[in-house]
């Protein structure tokens, strides 16, 4: 039986919405309608559990599924449940309590009934994981990751580049922190390290999927070794390089021009005047800034007169700047224009942008400040591993705020400076995070459940559009067939949007179901509201939906006649759903995704932008107003965005 449960939210919603009208209008849609006062408390939940049997399906019209969904799922063992956030999407945003708010509730509940018709149980799957992790790179993060994994009793192999030299490594990592700290940490890590399998070689190939990556590497004798790993941690770190300004500074041409690192190593007793030069064209990371301040302070404290040219210094610790000033370091905002060498020293022409003055100043020594970039070979490594790089060539993380150690490929993590320059303490924390993720991955069989894309080989043309569209490498071509790798799938549905033949359909979200839902919304709306225009909002279930819920919490009211259809990801929307909405009479269709490059599924935001752009072009050609379709982003922190977007046209 199809049942509807309406919650009055402690007798508040029924003051705004006309529950008796809802009951009357939906009497034919649902077999049974029940009004409960507090569905979220124990009493309400028990009543719900009693009334929803295994043979039933039910719509719950209450608060957002983010709130009510959790206790309901715990209490009611039935997957055929649709949630309608009557509180956040209707009552709280249309608080005048007029007729149209009730009408909107009826439309949404009628839509939920159609959703129930197309509901399918989620697919569950389980994969066993190889309990062994490959750590690539034997620097601070790599050693830390390997020792921690060993402590967690997980098998671990450390793969280092051929000819790894710990002493040289130590010297190259000075920018990460205090030099004694670094030496101490390396010593501790190396001690704890005994017993870990440590090999030197270059990565040749990586096949397979999360939980069972088949990794092949080549050692210095060109012998190939292959082993299976459940997860991989990239800890290749970074290296320092000379910025372009070093040429202008006559680096390599004059003995008086050295790198800052070399100058620190030398520890000359003779007091001299030193100019530290930074490249104004490269944006400095705060780790680099910290290192710059720390090094200049050391030089000044040993009696030198130190000048630093800079454009912008970022630091992790404001006190370091103060220390530097107190120790006598002089900061010049600007850059070096010209360097001339003569017997007694160097004359540097400095363009001081703060004073708008160009001046020649004499120095004994010029120290070029080195920048930090990804280790040479990072690009090759990334290509073999199948992970993406960011603009600067560092390993790209999946979602910097929420998934800081996840690369773009599942089961491959990044620790330490391989993703951006970082300090010693940050690198150690990053390694710990990566270890935890890798540990979670390999420790127990991967169990997941969700609605997945289902491929029909009969109608598939193997055009590979879905393979190209999938951001997670979850669809692959095998034996002239498209194969779904469930452990890589994130249930986003971007693949479905790109399929030209409808050979790939998302469980519970088939094209037919969208058509039926859009038709139902349009029909019910027209019946209740006659000619009043309506807007369809195709929102992703992550940021966009949270933002629309938030609009409710924050009482950011907007006009009725706005119906939100929740897609797993905005990338699942294809021109077909948009055009269908317009054909059914929607005045506007708004596609909403997560903030740019903040898509929870990596490419859904960009994909939906492209889909809408194509749809608009087509609409323009067939003589329709392309402005009827809009694509935008919303995030939970900006509840007024929804108000603004739909308020524009009503």
């Amino acid at each position: 039986m199809k049942k509807l449960f309406l919650c009055t939210c402690n007798k508040t919603l029924d003051k705004i919405l006309d529950f008796s009208k809802i009951e009357k209008e939906l009497a034919k849609t649902y077999d049974e309608i029940e009004i409960v006062d507090n569905l979220c408390v124990e009493e309400g939940l028990t009543q719900l559990a009693k009334n929803v049997t295994q043979d039933d399906c039910a719509t719950i019209g209450a608060c957002t599924s983010q709130i009510i969904g959790i206790p309901v799922k715990r209490k009611v063992k039935n997957e055929y449940i649709a949630f309608v956030p009557l509180r956040e999407h209707v009552a709280w945003v249309h608080p005048e309590g007029d007729k149209s708010a009730t009408n909107k509730a009826i439309v949404l509940l009628a839509d939920a009934a159609v959703r129930l018709d197309h509901m399918e149980p989620t697919t569950r799957f389980q994969e066993n994981m190889v309990e062994r992790v490959l750590v690539i790179g034997g620097g601070i993060a790599g050693l830390k990751a390997a020792t921690d994994l060993k402590r967690l009793k997980v098998g671990v192999t450390l793969l280092e580049p051929i000819g790894q030299n710990d002493a040289a490594y130590n010297q190259n990592s000075q920018f990460m922190g205090d030099s004694e700290d670094i030496a101490e940490h390396l010593e501790v890590l190396n001690k704890a390290f005994s017993g870990v399998e440590r090999v030197q070689g270059t990565l040749e190939s990586v096949d397979g999927q999360i939980g069972s990556y088949e990794v092949t590497w080549k050692d210095f004798k060109n012998v190939l070794s292959t082993q299976d790993f459940g997860a991989v941690i990239i800890a290749t770190g970074n290296h320092q390089y000379l910025p372009d300004i070093s040429k202008k500074c006559r680096y390599g041409k004059s003995d008086r021009v050295v790198t800052l690192e070399d100058l620190l190593q030398k520890s000359s007793k003779k007091k001299s005047t030193i100019l530290v030069v930074t490249d104004p064209d490269v944006q400095m990371h705060q780790v680099e800034g910290t290192h710059l301040l720390r090094s200049s302070t050391i030089l000044a404290r040993s009696g030198n007169t130190v000048f630093v040219t800079h454009s912008d210094i970022k630091t992790e610790d404001e006190d370091l700047y103060r220390d530097a000033r107190e120790s006598g370091v002089i900061f010049l905002r600007g850059s070096v224009k010209q360097v001339k060498g003569h017997d007694s020293g160097l004359t540097c022409r400095i363009d001081n942008t703060l004073e708008s003055m160009v001046r020649d100043i004499a120095f004994d020594t010029l120290a070029v400040f080195q920048m930090v970039g990804p280790t040479a070979g990072t690009a090759n490594l990334a290509a073999v591993l199948g992970v993406e790089l960011d603009d600067r060539g560092f390993i790209k993380t999946r979602y910097s705020k929420m998934k800081p150690v996840h690369t773009t490929r599942r089961g491959i993590f990044v620790a330490g400076g391989a993703k951006n320059p970082m300090s010693l303490s940050k690198a150690l924390i990053s390694a710990q995070n990566a270890v935890l993720e890798a540990f979670k991955t390999v420790r127990s069989p991967l169990q997941r459940s969700g609605w997945i894309p289902v491929i029909d080989d009969e109608t598939c043309d193997v055009c590979k559009a879905c393979v190209e569209a999938c951001p997670n490498d979850a669809l692959r071509v095998f034996d002239e067939r498209i194969v779904h790798i469930p452990v890589h799938c994130e249930f986003c549905g971007i693949c479905v949007s790109s399929c030209p033949t409808r050979a790939i359909e998302f469980q519970a979200h088939s094209k037919e179901s969208w058509f039926a839902r859009i038709e139902t919304i349009a029909r019910t709306h027209k019946k209740l509201e006659k000619n009043k225009p309506f807007t369809l909002v195709y929102a992703c279930s992550e940021c966009a939906n949270a933002s629309i819920d938030q609009a409710g919490f924050a009482n950011k009211t907007y006009p009725t006649g706005t119906y939100v259809l929740q897609f797993p990801c905005a990338g699942m929307v294809s021109p077909i759903e948009i055009l269908k909405g317009l054909v059914e009479g929607a005045e506007r269709v708004i596609v909403v995704h997560c903030p740019p490059s903040g898509c929870h599924h990596q490419s859904g935001d960009h994909h939906s932008e492209m889909v809408v752009s194509l749809t608009k072009d087509m609409l323009r050609e067939i003589g329709q107003d392309p402005e009827r379709v809009r694509v935008t982003y919303m995030m939970a922190a900006t509840p007024e965005k929804m108000q603004k977007e739909v308020g524009l046209h009503g």
Partner: protein, 304 residues
């Protein structure tokens, strides 16, 4: 350069007029045709491109909206249901008479249109067989306009003491014997022909005919055994001379359109028909004499 490319190069070399027609390809002529593409049902799967051995097909990132709008969706629908939905929704929303193609954003998979090159296609039908969506068909037409392109008309030819120069391909069965017999019978025919003996009239390749014309020959005559009496196939419809008759028809049609009418001719004579052979030659030489020297000579002069 492959053979087709060379042939087309030669056709372009001998063309003295910009072609205006799409030729009909006679029944037995293989290797020449046109691929008709129906974009609405195409899923852009590239199967046809993979199947094509001569790179005549490619994909471009556009949606051919005019074809979508004009498409008639069959009762059972397209095989690609998502395309069907897209096309029918666009048709429903259409309010415009004239639509243009729309380009697909770079990086958006699943869309695109097939392009076809008349110059490269060898009408092998492999793409049609590979297409899972039934959106390609091979048609018996030849898009001469796009194969030849624009032609610069050469200056008129004036040759002092012009005598027609004619290449005559004779099959080494009947028609060569007929030429021998004409000699044995002391029959007189003009001296303007040079015979080239070939195994069968069906063995004369288009590229040979075009090479002759390209070199300024005023006419090409092909002779074979009597129809239904070909030594290689007899009365089989695919016998050498039956096939060549259709081919010559096709080439005559083409030569008409590029300004070389009447310069290619095929006829048939059995071994016992020495008199007929001399008549064929005499008539063809007379005809060529009437239409004058080959305009390709003008082209050759310009080039030299």
């Amino acid at each position: 350069m492959d053979k087709r490319e060379r042939l087309i190069q030669k056709i372009q070399n001998i063309a003295v007029k910009t072609p205006t027609r799409t030729l009909m390809v006679p029944e037995k002529v293989e290797g020449f045709g046109s691929i008709r593409y129906r974009p609405p049902s195409c899923s852009a799967c590239r199967k046809c491109i993979e199947a094509c051995e001569v790179d005549a097909l490619d994909i471009e990132g556009v949606v051919r909206l005019p074809d979508y709008i004009d498409a008639v969706i069959p009762e059972e629908g397209f095989r690609s249901k998502n395309r069907e939905s897209l096309v029918s929704l666009l048709q429903t929303l259409n309010q415009n008479g004239e639509t243009q193609v729309v380009s697909v954003p770079t990086g958006l998979p699943g869309y695109g249109s097939i392009t076809w090159s008349a110059k490269k296609c060898i009408a092998c039908n492999k793409c049609v067989e590979a297409c899972p969506e039934d959106c390609l068909t091979l048609e018996k037409t030849y898009d001469l306009v796009s194969v030849v392109g624009d032609v610069v008309v050469p200056p008129p030819v004036k040759v002092a003491d012009w005598e027609p120069f004619i290449i005559c391909f004779v099959c080494w069965e009947c028609s060569h014997a007929a030429a021998d017999l004409a000699g044995l019978m002391h029959l007189h025919y003009p001296t303007n022909i040079r015979t080239v003996r070939v195994p069968c009239s069906g063995a004369v390749e288009p590229i040979q005919i075009m090479t002759a014309l390209e070199n300024g020959v005023d006419g090409v005559l092909v002779t074979g055994c009597l129809l239904s009496e070909c030594h290689y196939g007899g009365d089989d419809p695919l016998a050498g001379n039956f096939m060549q008759a259709d081919f010559v028809n096709f080439w005559q049609d083409m030569l008409d359109d590029i300004g070389l009418s009447g310069r290619l001719y095929i006829d048939f004579a059995s071994a016992a028909m020495g008199i007929r052979f001399s008549e064929i030659v005499t008539e063809f030489v007379e005809n060529i004499r009437k239409i004058g020297p080959s305009p390709v000579r003008g082209k050759l002069e310009v080039e030299s």
